[in-house]
Subunit: 124 residues, 2 copies
Amino acid sequence: MTKQILPLLDSGCCAPLAREPLSPQQAGTLAPMFKALGDPVRLRLLSMIASAAGGEVCVCDLTGGFAQSGPTISHHLRVLRESGLLDCERRGTWVFYWLRPGVLDQLAAVLDSTQPREAVGAPA
Amino acid sequence: MTKQILPLLDSGCCAPLAREPLSPQQAGTLAPMFKALGDPVRLRLLSMIASAAGGEVCVCDLTGGFAQSGPTISHHLRVLRESGLLDCERRGTWVFYWLRPGVLDQLAAVLDSTQPREAVGAPA
DNA sequence: CACTTGTTTCGACATCTGTCAAGTTAGACG
DNA sequence: CGTCTAACTTGACAGATGTCGAAACAAGTG
């Protein structure tokens, strides 16, 4: 069910944005994830899923909260899935979506600016 | 020089994504910022500016690092500025850009998922 | 098997986006 | 003022994106 997933930030991926310039490759890996977050409908979908009690939500419980049609919600879920933020599984009639663990934290870490620069590693 | 800026997350704006579902309004405020981050060129620009020594960079020091034309870089800088992530000022011949303080941290806070749900405020 | 419900895919369409070439504005310097 | 450089704006264009209705697919139920 899960289609092509972008090369995952294996472990941390990159230093925070504000510590050193991102390489074109790093930017190319991160941008699609931020892009997936760059739509109000997708942000709300992600939030509904991320904040759900069991950590997962049935599509049937998502569509009701939006003015958009079923196919449109399905499209946005696919974008979130293919960007590596969500995963899903069919169980009988229903399809459940959940947050891929850790991905949001990695994105948050990239945005973190508490260690602007010089305070990096200087051993002495 | 600074044009129309989106309604700024006054103070925190919203609870983390994973704590409770975003309202349509909150999603509408946040999405344009994530959208601005959703392009590799803009991510690199932002990173170059955020990690720069003095906290600001002259446009003339940015354009060299990209295959894109000057107007294209200018366009991306405008998108970053109008989404509220950057600010700029002209000094003589040159224009300098810098990170709007706090904005990145607010976005990071929205993505933070260390307090999934129930651990919220329950007084007892 | 036919029927119903949940979900995705397909096809179409209007809008938005990234890009560049060409032209314009802003300031510095004679 | 004229000219040079830095940066932005405009106009154009190919390609991506958000949206929907219709059709297809998946599973359960009679």
